[in-house]
């Protein structure tokens, strides 16, 4: 109990002192996860819109596959990306293994199916009457589809938040393809693992606090955004 208490006190001190190493890790984590979610949003949301708003053979199967991929094990993603980027792999010549880029790639792969599946479910939850109303008001099919997407915007925001939550808390894949190199590929989750293993609880707790704070602030942002559109 005393260890936790001391760790908490020291972590607050570390946070308030503006420790450059600690803040370097925080900024790197946000950059890596932010970039990954941005890329995943581009692929996942546009793919999800395509699946949700178009009828084609195998659509239901594809939705089932997307839902299954939401639970993609990070270590499997880490392994696949590692093999592809390793020196003997197909993209080994690019020299990306153990770089932040490799971490972004792994996190993008993890987040894309989450964003796509949640986009599909958000769009399918929009009343069919929305498209009908848009058409009756003179919308082209494209304008009507955009209106449906607009009506699902809070669901899409929630998908982005869920994707960010998933990748920012993820440790297995980034550890495998990033290597946890100090000052280069060390992010909050991998630093917490290392600090805990070394018994340096203060920094681990400080990073844990920041990780929770980030999740809280992102959710708060979503709530405020939703509040603007609510009654």
């Amino acid at each position: 109990m005393e260890t936790i208490y001391l760790g908490l006190i020291q972590s607050v001190h570390l946070l308030l002192s503006g420790d450059p190493e600690l803040y370097g890790i925080i900024v790197r984590s946000l950059l890596v996860s932010g970039t990954a979610v941005l890329l995943a949003a581009l692929c996942g949301i546009s793919g999800g819109i395509g699946v949700a708003l178009h009828a084609f053979p195998g659509r239901r199967l594809l939705i089932n596959i997307l839902n299954t991929l939401m639970g993609l094990p990070p270590v499997v993603v880490g392994l696949v990306v590692y093999v592809i980027l390793s020196r003997s792999g197909p993209l080994g010549a690019l020299g990306l293994l153990f770089t932040p880029t490799a971490m972004v790639i792994a996190q993008t792969i993890l987040a894309t199916p989450i964003l796509a599946a949640l986009t599909v479910s958000a769009l399918l939850a929009v009343k069919p009457q929305v498209r009908d109303t848009a058409m009756s008001l003179g919308a082209t099919p494209r304008q009507a589809a955009w209106t449906v997407v607009r009506e699902a915007r809070f669901g899409l925001m929630a998908a982005v938040i869920a994707g960010f939550g998933r990748v920012s808390a993820e440790v297995g894949a980034v550890m495998m393809v990033g290597g946890n190199i100090a000052g280069y590929t060390r992010v909050m989750t991998t630093a917490i693992v290392l600090d805990t293993a070394k018994g340096e609880f203060a920094q681990a707790i400080a990073l844990g606090i920041v990780l929770i704070m980030v999740a809280f602030l992102v959710n708060l942002g979503l709530n405020l955004f939703q509040g603007r559109g609510a009654v």
């Binding site: 009457q129 058409m135 009756s136 008001l137 003179g138």
Partner: protein, 244 residues
């Protein structure tokens, strides 16, 4: 009077059910028409066909002298001349002001012109105090009014109204009817109204159509048809309606 819609032997199915059958009729332009009939008579399905939201399964549908069935699906320009108020209309997320802009945005109205139309229509419908209200916070009567104003903003030639007062209290119904009643005479528009309320049909329409199981049983001037229906089915329906 010129025809606005002409239907020739139109039949239509929805989800495997015959909803409109061998329907032939001419709707006159600049006139108000009411469609009555029991539940499942195909009134809403007919209105959806006239709103060009669905292509008739069989037969021909003309808008003025244009054959919609051969033009389909290239009928956006024609659909933009119609205003369809659905039963339980849906307002989009956002404010009343945002909703009024939608039809104008779809038509590519420039911002300044859009604002001007929005302001005009807000004033005409007495909605100015509600302009900044979220659509989701409106009452049933207000929603109905905003939905009608949203249509009137783009000034359609034809108004298709599907039981517009079905869920309104008597005062809101009265107010809504007053808005509708002023439209055709002042602006030369055609109104096609689906209603269960015979009194409303009498108050708002010049021509009346009675539908039963997807078929047109009879049509004629509203007053005459209500007083002297020729068909037994119409007579039975009117007697029931009057008893209610």
């Amino acid at each position: 009077m010129a025809a606005i819609f002409t239907l020739k032997q139109v039949s239509h199915q929805r989800q495997g059910q015959q909803v409109v059958e061998q329907f032939s009729h001419t709707f006159e332009a600049g006139c108000s028409h009411a469609i009555i009939g029991p539940n499942g008579a195909g009134k809403t399905s007919l209105l959806r066909l006239l709103a060009l939201l669905e292509k008739p399964g069989q037969g021909q549908l003309f808008f003025r002298d244009l054959d919609i069935t051969s033009l389909w699906p290239q009928c956006l320009a024609l659909r933009r001349r119609l205003g369809f108020l659905q039963q339980n209309p849906l307002l989009f997320q956002g404010t009343v002001w945002d909703n009024l802009a939608m039809g104008l945005k779809y038509r590519g109205f420039p911002r300044r012109q859009r604002r001007q139309r929005q302001e005009e229509v807000l004033a005409a419908f007495g909605l100015t105090p509600l302009a900044r209200r979220q659509a989701a916070s409106l009452s049933g009567g207000e929603t109905q009014k905003v939905a009608l104003a949203r249509i009137m903003a783009f000034n359609p030639e034809v108004l298709l109204l599907d039981e517009p007062t079905a869920n309104l209290d008597p005062y809101a119904t009265f107010e809504f009817e007053r808005l509708i009643a002023d439209i055709p005479q002042q602006q030369g528009k055609t109104i096609i109204l689906v209603t269960h309320d015979l009194g409303q049909a009498q108050r708002l329409s010049q021509r009346l159509l009675f539908l039963h199981r997807g078929r047109l049983v009879e049509s004629g001037p509203t007053g005459l048809l209500l007083r002297q229906p020729e068909d037994n089915l119409t007579r039975q329906f009117l007697n029931r309606g009057l008893m209610v």
